[in-house]
């Protein structure tokens, strides 16, 4: 009995394993919380109905009403305020639904879309509103990708491939601090 008591008094709680665990937890907690940085994309209140604007008498002040529609087959561009085919130097399509940027290898052609966005912007430098619509089942990630692409102008007007587009630098105004905007005001539209 006496011997047993002596052993108890000598025995001490070993904190080494706990300290090891804590030391492992510190980098895990730091890495886990620092990696996922959340940001936001601003959008305006959506408008519902036809994306085509009502005709106005004053053609000079008519809004461009530039719309990018994300469909299952690709991007379709329309603009009720100007001749979209002329702006994009394309032949009118038979269906008259507006120029289509078809998918390439079952993937959306963001490279071509960017060059078309720049062409329309150059024809209407005062416009900043882009109506964005998509098919009912198009995943949200494609919508955010188009918003990303349309927000800022890049150093070149067009790029050869997707890798170049990924790594392209943003174009800045002469003060070298203000980025040049492309189509920053995105309005969601849903044709009913």
């Amino acid at each position: 009995m006496g011997k047993a008591k002596f052993v108890e008094a000598e025995g001490d709680l070993s904190l080494v394993p706990i300290m090891n665990c804590v030391m492992c937890l510190i980098p895990a907690v730091l890495a886990g919380s620092a990696q996922v940085a959340i940001g936001v994309i601003n959008v305006n209140a959506p408008k519902f109905g036809s994306s085509a604007a009502a005709p106005t008498e004053d053609n000079d002040n008519k809004p461009l009403n530039f719309t990018v529609a994300i469909g299952e087959d690709g991007f379709r561009l329309t603009a009720s305020g100007d001749d979209i085919y002329e702006m994009l130097k394309m032949a009118p399509t038979e269906d008259g639904a507006g120029p289509l940027i078809p998918k390439k290898n079952d993937a959306y052609d963001f490279v071509e879309l960017y060059s078309k966005l720049v062409m329309v912007k150059k024809a209407h430098t005062n416009e900043s509103v882009l109506n964005l619509t998509a098919g009912a089942k198009i995943p949200f990630k494609y919508v955010t990708a188009v918003m990303d692409l349309a927000r800022l102008q890049l150093t070149e007007d067009s790029y050869a491939d997707l890798d170049q587009l990924h790594n392209a630098d943003i174009k800045y105004e002469s003060d070298n601090t203000t980025p040049v905007l492309l189509w920053p005001d995105v309005v969601f539209a849903l044709a009913q």
């Binding site: 001490d12 510190i26 940085a37 959340i38 993937a107 098919g135 969601f188």
Partner: protein, 197 residues
């Protein structure tokens, strides 16, 4: 230097050196014994815990938007540099629409059941979400009135990247009917431009 050593010599008279060494040996032995008895000190552990505590508190204080990503909620990546603000937030996951940590309406196969839209599948308004957002808007209006501020109608949408566009627009439409007019989409910063498959 040699003078200094000579001056120090009388401090250690003959025989005293040996006694001192024995004393040190005893003390050292005693010290070893004490160390063995005391075990591991918890000071370093407490330091580590304190650092983690401060870090976690700072993290909670700085981030207005706390999002835990999962299989049902994976945010799209973006190149945006805009940081989130403290606003009301609607979360659209693959399993349901959440407001203030409560599932307002379930989602199945990327759509809300028509029973939650007044029986009309084509309706844009999700009734339970409208009720919850109207209540939230009313609360925010009351707070704005009390502090002589202005109700801004700002809403952050935290949506799963695979959410169909139709459901996103239904949520936006419903929020618009409940007086929310400005929207922000939560995304993961640091993504590549147009990098979706």
């Amino acid at each position: 230097m040699s003078e200094e050593l000579q001056n120090q010599a009388p401090l250690n008279p003959n025989g005293a050196e040996g006694e001192e060494e024995e004393g040190f040996k005893k003390e050292r032995k005693k010290g070893r014994f004490d160390e063995a008895k005391s075990g591991v000190t918890i000071n370093s552990l407490m330091d580590a815990m304190f650092i983690i505590l401060v870090f976690l508190l700072m993290n909670f204080a700085v981030d207005p938007l706390k999002i835990e990503q999962s299989e049902d909620l994976h945010l799209p990546a973006s190149t945006t540099k805009v940081n989130p603000e403290a606003t009301a937030a609607v979360t659209v996951t693959a399993a349901g629409i959440v407001l203030n940590d409560k599932i307002v309406v379930p989602v199945k196969d990327g759509a809300v059941d028509k029973t939650h839209k007044g029986g009309d599948e084509q309706s844009m308004q999700i009734q339970p979400l409208f009720d919850a957002l109207s209540e939230e808007a009313g609360r925010q209006e009351n707070v704005a009135r009390l502090i002589n501020g202005k109700f801004e109608g700002l809403l952050t949408i935290i949506a799963h990247e695979e959410t169909p566009y139709r459901l996103i627009t239904e949520v936006l439409y419903t929020a618009g009917q409940a007086k929310f007019q400005k929207f922000k989409f939560a995304v993961v910063q640091g993504g590549l431009r147009a990098n979706v498959k």
